[in-house]
Symmetry: C2
Subunit: 562 residues, 2 copies
């Protein structure tokens, strides 16, 4: 019959890598069936219980206590294993355990004042406090810890923003700053591609692809998985894009994330357009509807993102193509009056990250549904061939009456800057749509401050005479497009850039000009990684404040802030 013995060390703190190494070493000792080495939080006690490793003694331990439990064939072997703990802890190979360790962040800063960066990987419930301290000391912060509250993330990012600092994370697994990998990072050559990504392995894969294709990374900035959520609003992403936009080493930027909320996507893409270099955007899982709009290239997978970036930096200073655009659409709205449902749908897909809010009677998502199809609001793309408009009348491809009325109605709305129509020629369609549309186009352009854009579908063999239709509509003052791709690009370019970083101090380029020096708070293995990369670093012998007593911690925080 096997037996479980345990040992509780009050107030002893080790990081989770050290604990896991100890646990594995114990489990390999003779006679030992299973071992558990954890900080005695409630969650960890549950896990031990599930593994049949929880003793009565262990039940009494607290979150600030180190708990070691061993189940062995008999008591002798269990006790023998526990006796090995100190020897095993001493054997750990971390350089951190052999170096001088200040006990607090301020004293670490005194030890290594040239350190611009603080790496934080302490347990989530302590992480925001450490990060705040780092930012208040003017340090850029790499926040690896997860389980940080959204509220704390927003406060930390606001603080960082105010101070012109970068706060990467929380749950930021990977970054490469000045050639040094922080957290998990592949060793890649330095080069001219700047990366901005939420995710750890996404950033690793793309940086490896770039290296393996012979190019290199200027800087790789992690943002944390929630940065592009509506709540956080892309604060770190916007700072990073602005910083890399100003960095002379960076010739192209790659931005990778899961699909952001529409409002955030619009803001981030406006910031990307405002950058004076190519920006490759990969919003994972969101449909790409054009390969390029101005300086922004859209990728369909991580490899593609890497290849696009390597392509643009490899071909020398890439030229930013000029294309059609309209009057300012940042303060004015687009209204689309389509006869073709598929054409309306494709234009909405193309515009969904470029302008917002966007509404429709045939919306991509339910929240975009127009309350009243007879009355537009915001940017609105209408399918006038939908049932609610064709009841009792012919389809707008045959009968322009409704479209002409609506064209006048939209043009009279002072919020409207652009009206978009499709004109579909061919068998079955109206015999001469331009003859009816052209006079009204001329009229509304004359009477109001609007542009009219027309996507013309047809061939030179169509019965309506494509060339004549086009000429009539152009003469009337409409801007003609022969694909939705060009139309969408022109609209996107007219949605004015909004840098989003507002009046806060920008992050200084000095960040990238110095050899990296860093302070590590948390996992010893991150310190090892820094020193193996020949980075000047200090490891803080961090312990939970107030011995992990949460009430005491709250009180301390209150005293500090008052």
């Amino acid at each position: 019959m096997s037996l479980t013995c345990s040992e509780v060390r009050r107030g002893a703190y080790f990081d989770s890598v050290v604990l896991m190494q100890l646990q594995r070493a114990l489990a390999e000792l003779p006679g030992v069936e299973d071992a558990g080495v954890v900080m005695a939080t409630a969650a960890n006690l549950d896990l031990l219980a599930a593994s049949d490793l929880l003793t009565d003694e262990a039940r009494g331990a607290g979150a600030d206590d180190l708990l070691i439990a061993v189940r062995a064939e008999d008591e002798l072997q269990a006790t023998a294993a526990l006796e090995q703990v100190d020897a095993l802890l001493k054997q750990r190979r971390s350089r951190a355990s052999r170096s001088f360790q200040p006990r607090s962040l301020p004293s670490a800063i005194k030890t290594l004042p040239q350190a611009d960066w603080v790496l934080i990987s302490v347990p989530g419930r302590y992480a925001a406090g450490v990060a705040r301290e780092a930012l208040e000391h003017g340090k850029h912060t790499f926040l690896y810890s997860d389980n940080v509250d959204m509220k704390d993330e927003i406060e930390l990012k606001d603080l960082a923003h105010e101070k012109g600092l970068l706060l990467m994370g929380p749950d930021c697994g990977t970054a490469i700053i000045n050639g040094v990998g922080l957290g998990f990072a592949n060793r890649t050559r330095r080069g001219s591609i700047g990366l901005v990504a939420a995710s750890g392995t996404g950033l690793q894969a793309i940086s490896s692809y770039i290296h393996n294709q012979g190019a290199g990374i200027s800087q790789a900035i992690g943002t944390g998985g929630r940065d592009l959520s509506p709540e956080v609003g892309g604060m770190t992403s916007m700072q990073a894009m602005d910083l890399l936009g100003r960095d002379p080493q960076t010739k192209a930027i790659v931005l990778v994330s899961k699909p952001p909320a529409a409002k955030v996507a619009t803001r981030v893409l406006a910031a990307a357009r405002a950058v004076d270099k190519p920006v490759v955007v990969y919003f994972m899982g969101q449909p790409v509807t054009a390969r390029r709009i101005g300086n922004v290239l859209f990728a369909i997978n991580l490899l593609d993102a890497a290849e696009l970036a390597v392509g643009v930096v490899g071909n020398g200073e890439p030229e930013v193509e000029q294309g059609s655009s309209f009057a300012d659409l940042a303060s004015k709205c687009v209204r689309g009056l389509f006869s073709g449902g598929t054409l309306a749908y494709e234009v909405m897909l193309g515009l969904q990250n470029q302008i917002s809010p966007m509404f429709s009677n045939v919306p991509l998502r339910e929240e975009q549904r127009l309350a009243n199809p007879l009355r537009s609001q915001g940017h609105a793309i209408l399918d006038l061939g939908a049932d609610e408009f064709t009841q009792g009348r012919l389809h707008p491809m045959m009968d322009n009456t409704l479209r002409l009325r609506r064209l006048r109605q939209e043009a009279a709305d002072p919020d409207v800057g652009l009206i978009v129509l499709d004109v579909v020629l061919g068998e079955g369609a109206h015999a001469d749509p331009a003859s009816e549309l052209a006079p009204v186009v001329t009229e509304v352009i004359g009477d109001h401050d609007v542009d009219v854009a027309i996507f013309l579908v047809g061939t030179e063999d169509d019965p309506q005479d494509l060339a004549r239709q086009k000429k009539q509509l152009e003469k009337a003052g409409a801007r003609l497009f022969d694909s939705t791709v060009d139309l969408v690009a022109a609209i996107a370019k007219s949605a004015a850039p909004n840098s989003g970083t507002g009046k806060m101090p920008a992050v200084s380029l000095e960040t990238f000009r110095q050899p990296l020096a860093a302070i590590n708070v948390g996992l010893e293995s991150f310190y090892d990684s820094l020193t193996s990369q020949e980075v000047e670093a200090v490891h803080v012998s961090w312990r939970p404040p107030a011995g992990g007593n949460e009430k005491m911690m709250a009180l301390l925080a209150k005293l500090k802030s008052s």
Copy 2:
């Protein structure tokens, strides 16, 4: 004060184009303020009331009655307008009104026995009955009418399938058969690109793009907007792809639709893979994650779909690239055990239309969520770095314990044919993952009928020695991939083709070998369009059966079917 007069013609039927033309002509007469010309259905009476055109006399009219209402300045002018009705109806320019018109479909078939096609554009509530009659007479059917029940659509498509006929629609706006446009269609040159699309204007835009790029259309087949719904299951799309696959004139196929349900998408893509020519797929609004998998090319917009097709047919017989693949995954499952969340996500995005059902602990859509992350089902892609797996243990990038246990568990499942792992090298990661993974890979490949595929992320500068890791894993029997793109392609190719047309008779290629002849039931303007394209056609002088009396219609249908 103005005055409304009306006239009811019992049992008179005209199609909606004719009615609209009459309405517009009446509205232009002197003194006339507004006019309404409709079949007196309840919906149309409501519309007239809204326009202040409803008289007491009109309220008594029924769905089979023609109702003409005129509001004029005084009674004299209103009456004078109504007196013009017959003259205006005679003036209509349709050739149909001047040709011999059989009164029923069977008599039309006797008149033009060589007609293989029937075009139906009668009001929706009558359309299914006419379509059934056409199919029962062995005719391919172009069903323009909308408002046809889903149940009727399924019955009609089953019937068509059984008889080896095409049923395009309902709500099919556009087709091009043997160079003849049906419904709304642009005039395009004949060529080698076959189109299959749900939508009217989508098909028009893509066929125009192809023509304008100098290439041409072999056949363009409409399917109706609901064909790829889970209920209909893509019946017409599958038939069309199979038919175009066998058609020697067609060198490439383009398939366009709104995103289908996952199950239908999987089936349709399997059918596309089974075709021995390039197939360009554009599922509007669904993310494209690879530009090409085998013979299937993925487009990001209508113009791109056209360009891809023109590209492949322009470059001669396109070569179908050979790539890696695995043992049969049609009957066996894929299980992914990922350490990188982003990598798992990208693989899921790539596979979502290729294999189904697919499950995950980090699903793309909620219905894919694994009931129990500890127990896989179907195809399953797991992120072992997610919270539920890392509570109390290190991340799988540092600690392989959990992955190795799960690898053995999945391999022992007789449903499993392939296990996919990622191995991420670099700073912070496990110092030698291959040393732990390789023996277990060898073990499970030896003990079970499974393949192991590994996506390896790293650079040759990484501390783990990329080349050595790769060699060890390959020696162990794993198949190595250096991008998710290649991995996804290999899995997709191993998901065996399932033609889906089953044992039903295929649609005969004779359909495409004859000059088109057609019978038109419904809009006279479609007849005009056929004759203007020099097609032999007959227009049926169709009237609602049983004078539009729905109870009588149901009784008639019952008598017929018994």
